[in-house]
Symmetry: C2
Subunit: 275 residues, 2 copies
């Protein structure tokens, strides 16, 4: 197995979200020799799309993904239409930045609902309603299954298998983002990655800490947890995935409290030694 | 769909673990007209097996399960043998109490390990090593898949499908416990319950709160969360499951802080109105 290719490392800006603006993250990537970046839309809006695009170009970076679209289920038609409209804007922004894909997070149960099958049907309908727009923009949509602990409030697509069923049903222009944090536990992971094949549009890295003290904001740096990341890298590379590897760490009590340049150095070191 | 049968309600003593000893829980069940109880082994040891058995008989209760066996993976052979020996003792205790089953929780990764496939193989070997003893005691073993958020540190069997694969591979004397908390998110839940069929040995109730503030100790009372419990009850009853329904709620900041008789009244009310 070859060493992790340093030219494929990407910084998801969520990793330094409390420390840096998007402009600072772009400059930070350039300073640390990280060639890819993945902005979130809130930071992109703060920076301004045109300015972000210019800064990314000036610093010679590439955009591994825009985070994020999705969040389809809603309590009423107006809510569902608003989500689709917002997703179309996200597609346009991602295309303008030349992003490799737009990450789609399904969304959870509408407020007050216990109908997860219904929410899943709304996700399917929502993605279907976006596909023509995405194809016209030549912008791949990457469904990212989230860990089942987010099924209620964040994403009701929780396995690679489910995400691929959506891809099969809806056709061209769709793929998946494989985040080790969300899928590492899945006994069918190897089969799912093989089934995904060329539809792998993104590969995201962090680690699962023991203990995990918060469902959302206690992700670990690669190497600090229990995920066999090299094993999962082998699986995605066996499917000829040769795209960027995005480091995305939500860590309210550790990495978000550290100096961002220290975080960047650690990301680079751990990418090389623990992925 | 018929109303929940009040004679099938069972109190898992973890629901009042901070308030009551096993003796108090037995008396509490009798006082509140709850006909089934599920002890944990730590409380059983405090009470003493013979005394617990006598108290349960005196109060006319039945034992829906003993919690718990399992925890098979270990870093070395001695650890794995110790787990099997302890499980044999748990089988003997459950048989002595006339429990309907012994609940098996797989166990997580051995300390320092990232080999989840290896841990899963150890679970299979561990259950295989128990089966003769369990069959001789005529004591069914119920594999309880736990939510994937426990894969690292508590149980590496995380889906009904995986639990049933183990049942298929290992044969008679094994079944599954279906806890709505652990399986509600699974897009293949209906198929899994149908596949389980007569192998459903237990049905456990609580609810998934939004937000959930702790991975282990923030379970909700039935009706306070997002799980469509009646829908899952329909699925298990369609497989002719007519056994007890165990209420098991770990709730460090709410139910464990309340008066235990209030908890018992709420369990009964919500069992009737929200399951």
């Amino acid at each position: 197995m070859s060493a992790p290719d340093p030219t494929l490392l990407s910084l998801n800006v969520a990793t330094v979200r409390t420390q840096w603006s998007l402009e600072q993250a772009i400059e930070g990537c350039a300073r640390h020799g990280i060639g890819w970046i993945a902005p979130w839309r809130d930071k992109l809006a703060e920076c301004g799309l045109a300015r972000a695009k210019a800064l990314i170009k000036t610093h010679g970076l590439k955009v591994s993904s825009l985070c994020r679209g999705g969040m389809f289920p809603a309590a009423d038609d107006a809510g569902r239409r608003a989500a689709i409209d917002d997703n179309k804007r996200a597609i346009d922004e991602a295309a303008e930045l030349g992003a490799a894909c737009l990450v789609l997070i399904a969304g959870g149960l509408p407020k007050g609902s216990k109908d997860i099958a219904g929410a899943r049907a709304q996700v399917k309908d929502g993605i279907a309603a976006l596909l023509e727009h995405a194809r016209a923009a030549r912008l791949p949509l990457a469904i990212e299954p989230l860990h089942p602990m987010y099924a209620a409030d964040r994403a009701c697509v929780n396995t690679l298998e489910h995400a691929l069923d959506l891809c099969d049903a809806l056709g061209a222009g769709l793929g998946v983002a494989v985040d080790v944090y969300h899928v590492w536990w899945d006994p069918d992971l190897a089969a799912g990655i093989e089934r995904a094949g060329k539809r792998i549009l993104g590969f995201h890295l962090c680690d699962w800490l023991v203990p995990t003290t918060d469902l959302l904001l206690d992700r670990g740096m690669m190497g600090d947890g229990v995920i066999d990341i090299p094993a999962i890298r082998r699986m995605v590379e066996a499917q000829f995935y040769a795209g960027p590897r995005e480091v995305e760490i939500f860590s309210q009590n550790n990495w978000w409290k550290r100096d961002a340049d220290e975080v960047m150095r650690t990301v680079k070191d751990r990418y090389a030694s623990a992925t």
